[in-house]
């Protein structure tokens, strides 16, 4: 597969772009592989890419029941950041952010990583203190963070209403290296790069059963036949429970809905990512010009991929409360993704009770920014049959041990994380 280069772009343009090849092959399943990754979203494709590029394991299949990148990878709000409190999380996300920073070059694909800055607004002393504690945790762990006063917020995002809302803005915690990336391109870029290293990406291949013998994984059954492998990694946000049930165990996950929205395209209006502290709302502007925004969970378990009006109303109301200039703009489209919610809001990248079966799961609504880091750590865990130190804490067993990674102290309530 030819690489994308300036020369190639130029010559193809001159001959009617007739020479471009598929960004990845439409592979058919072979009977066996060294590793099968279930799930052709960003996390699964990244796992395959890092298995091949870091660990030299290229006899890998990515099986996807539908299309590459059509799950949560293709239905999120594209935010990338590493502004976490707990060291276990901020180290992991910082590693992920560093991978993001070099992703275009690693993948030979422009994922449009845009470090526009992410601001979390705060509105009272308690929120400010929590922001200080989190920001200081970042700084002490070598991650960029800045405290903005009201003038600082005004300078970064002048259309935020600092004064007139129910809860006036007191300031914000800024991570300048945070930002957005083009979500579809992330899936396509990883697919393109994994494929180039020999990985088989098999779309329309749905796993219908897990082959477990003597407590160890031996492969998967699919609608396209049995595929065997001594190692299987799951990267199937929203469907993790379904697949682990096939392998014979339950996991601490509840699947919930999260809506997202995009406005009509506009000339540049909001230059950073900004989150409201007084309600569930965050917004950024895409390169195309649409305001991409969202809020909190719809509040009950669902695999339905469609949202409800009351949650949408809250998101829009919080939006206008934060930025009154939004009132006359228009929402264009809304959609919903299904989230693997965990009891502490943090993810799993780990081994499972079945030997040879691994998973990256439980990303709640923060999976997009984790994409490269999740794939990198998942690949490591699969290749070495042991976690990397970056994901050593992200186990299923942490609840047995009482070592929760609860960033916000919300407690063991899946829907509150």
């Amino acid at each position: 597969m030819a690489r994308y280069s300036a020369f190639r772009i130029l010559t193809e343009g001159l001959r009617g772009n007739s020479g471009w090849q598929p960004a990845w092959r439409k592979a058919a399943p072979k009977p066996s592989y060294d590793v099968i990754v279930v799930g052709g979203g960003g996390h699964g494709l990244a796992t395959a890419f890092y298995l091949a590029s870091v660990h030299g394991i290229t006899n890998v299949a990515v099986v996807e029941r539908g299309l590459v990148g059509q799950g949560n990878t293709g239905r999120n709000t594209t935010i990338v950041r590493s502004n976490y409190l707990l060291p276990e999380n901020n180290h992991f996300y910082e590693h992920s952010l560093k991978l993001w920073e070099g992703l275009e070059q690693s993948l030979n694909y422009n994922v449009m990583m845009s470090q526009r800055g992410v601001i979390n607004l705060f509105h009272n002393d308690a929120q400010r203190n929590a922001a200080l504690r989190r920001g200081n945790s970042m700084r002490l762990n070598g991650i960029d963070a800045e405290l903005l006063d009201r003038e600082g917020v005004r300078a970064m995002c002048p259309i935020v209403d600092l004064d007139n809302g129910r809860y006036p803005v007191m300031g914000g915690l800024l991570q300048r290296r945070g930002g957005t990336a083009r979500h579809d391109a992330v899936a396509w870029g990883f697919a393109h790069a994994a494929d180039a290293r020999g990985v088989d990406i098999i779309e329309h291949c749905e796993v219908t059963g897990m082959i477990v013998e003597g407590g160890a994984i031996r492969g998967v059954r699919t609608n396209r036949g049995e595929i065997r492998a001594p190692k299987v990694g799951l990267a199937v946000a929203g469907s993790t429970s379904t697949l682990t049930a096939m392998a014979g165990f339950d996991v601490p996950i509840e699947t919930h809905l999260l809506q997202a929205f995009v406005s009509e395209a506009l000339k540049p209006l909001i230059d950073c990512v900004v989150t409201f502290g007084a309600g569930h709302f965050y917004v950024s502007q895409s390169d195309k010009g649409g305001l991409v925004f969202g809020g909190g969970l719809d509040g009950y378990p669902s695999y339905g991929q469609r949202g409800t009006l009351p949650t949408a109303e809250h998101v829009y109301a919080a939006g206008v409360s934060m930025i009154p200039a939004l009132g006359r703009l228009r929402g264009l489209r809304s959609w919903a993704g299904v989230m693997d919610m965990t009891p502490d809001g943090s993810a799993y990248i780990c081994k499972t009770p079945v030997q040879g079966l691994y998973m990256t799961a439980g990303w709640c609504y923060g999976g997009f920014k984790a994409t490269p880091g999740s794939g990198w750590c998942h690949a490591w865990t699969i290749a070495k049959d042991a976690p990397h130190r970056l994901n050593a804490a992200h186990t299923l067993d942490r609840f047995r041990e009482g070592r929760m990674l609860d960033e916000r102290g919300n407690g063991p309530f899946f829907w509150a994380q």
Binding site: S239, D250, I253, E254, T255, G299, Y303, G304, L309, R400
Partner: protein, 91 residues
């Protein structure tokens, strides 16, 4: 949007209710040990299909109700009070 027939108040819109978890898990006996409480608090069947759930009618009678609901279609098929049982239909 769900319409939940509250046994006390009648059919009401979902905005009056709050979901409060899988109602099939049962709090273990006091001496059951960490493993049993772990499973009760953390492990979830998380079905793609029918599930019996706790919902509180906090905008009405405040009762905790058991609601049989489908997690894909969102259809609500049965609602009973906390002490009654609901049967889960197959698939």
């Amino acid at each position: 949007m769900l319409m939940i027939p509250c046994p006390h108040c009648g059919a009401r819109d979902e905005v009056e209710f709050t979901y409060r978890g899988d109602a099939t898990v049962v709090r273990p006996a006091a001496d059951a040990g960490i493993e049993a409480f772990h499973d009760y608090l953390y492990l979830r069947r998380n079905p793609r299909g029918w599930q019996v759930e706790w919902w509180q009618h906090n905008g009405g009678c405040r009762a905790f109700l058991k609601v049989l609901r489908h997690t894909v279609t969102h259809e609500v098929r049965g609602v009973v009070t906390a002490t009654e049982a609901l049967e889960v239909p197959p698939a």
